[in-house]
Amino acid sequence: MTVQTTTGATNRPVITIKLASTSDELMQCYMLRAAVFIGEQACPYWEEYDGNDYSASHLMLYVDGEPAASMRVRWFAGFAKLERAVILKRYRSYGLFIPFVEWAKEFCRKKGYPKAYLHGQKRLWEIFERDGFYRVGETFHFSDHEYGAFVCDLEVDEKTQPTVLTDPMVLNRPEDRLEQQGILEDSMSRGASCPHAEWTERRA
């Protein structure tokens, strides 16, 4: 689920999508948003970095290794909210948006979320409607744009979605690679030696 590679003609760019999992990748995500929202759309800094970045998951898309697009996902009880989606200007003719949103929806679905939800700028409504989203509620506006709320129903697989009865070591895996063994499973061969420092040492 981590990497999608375009195959076929040799000079086609390699597209990679992943969950941002290092501080470098987070930095790339924030900088793409600064470029597009602050640089192109004149969004004030404190509206762009609204305090929700550290309770969210961030998705990164790379074109030949260069950061090209990002999206933020926040997790509510019954739905996942896709937001802050940007594609750098120079990559906008690559047709990245739909595959990126599809990847995000698949990511949410595999985590067991039955709905993806987003606030779409009015000029983009048609694109969302073509991509399986339907509008809910009234329009509203913030940060100088008019928005509509959209929902896309996701078909959660009852058998594979994570629950409290899922193998604990599966729940410990990187969230965009739940089907692959993770680093903590590798640690199991070390056994449970409980390597705490002694109380006296801990207080020294």
Binding site: M27, Q28, Y30, M31, L32, A34, A35, V36, I38, G39, E40, A42, P44, Y45, W46, E48, Y49, D64, G65, E66, P67, L88, K89, R90
Partner: protein, 189 residues
């Protein structure tokens, strides 16, 4: 010298050095907005591996980060670069406010020369503010042409006219020996 605003529409303009992670992110965000968003510079060129050996200075209008500059430190000079002001705040002298803070910082550190690399179209801006070309030639090719510019840290003590070129000459288009992964082959564009 242009007038430097201490306030824009009643909002005060302040300058500070980046001290915390959030400060650095603000400086980086201003640069991303200007260089990646407006000028279409690739991410990997804008964030070139020198950001963590440099000092970052940020300008605020109220609590909004609106400008930034990075200063790199060399033995014989200080190098302000990546000077950026958010588009709608331009024309208020914020760039000079940032450069002046660089100058004062360089002074405190005992540096007597500022050095920068300007795009050919910006040379007039620097000259207006007391900088001069280090040599007549531009270096680099095509869109990558830059002009080396210098200014004295103490305006009352001009730099000697006779150029003993600083090590800066070897600096231009310096290969990034710390970063192995620059993918863009940027010299070719």
């Amino acid at each position: 010298m242009s007038t430097i605003a201490q306030s824009i529409s009643g909002v005060s303009v302040t300058v500070k050095l980046a001290m915390k992670m959030e400060d650095s992110l603000q400086a980086f965000a201003v640069r991303a907005a200007c260089f990646i968003g407006e000028q279409d510079v690739p991410y990997s060129e804008e964030f070139d591996g020198h950001d963590f050996g440099a000092t970052h200075i940020i300008a605020y209008a109220g609590d909004e980060p609106v400008g930034a500059v990075r200063v790199r430190w060399f033995k014989s000079f200080a190098m302000p670069e990546r000077l950026a002001v958010i588009q709608r705040f331009r024309g208020n002298g914020i760039g000079q406010l940032l450069i002046d803070r660089c100058r004062k910082l360089a002074e405190q550190r005992g540096s007597n020369m500022l050095y920068t690399q300007s795009l050919p179209k910006d040379v007039a801006y620097w000259e207006k503010h007391g900088w001069r070309r280090l040599d007549a030639e531009e270096t680099g090719t095509g869109a990558k042409k830059v002009v080396a510019m210098v200014a004295p840290v103490d305006p009352s003590t001009p730099l000697p006219e006779a150029d003993e070129a600083p090590e800066s000459v070897t600096l231009r288009r310096e290969p990034q020996f710390d970063s192995t992964g620059l993918p863009m082959g940027s010299g070719n564009r």
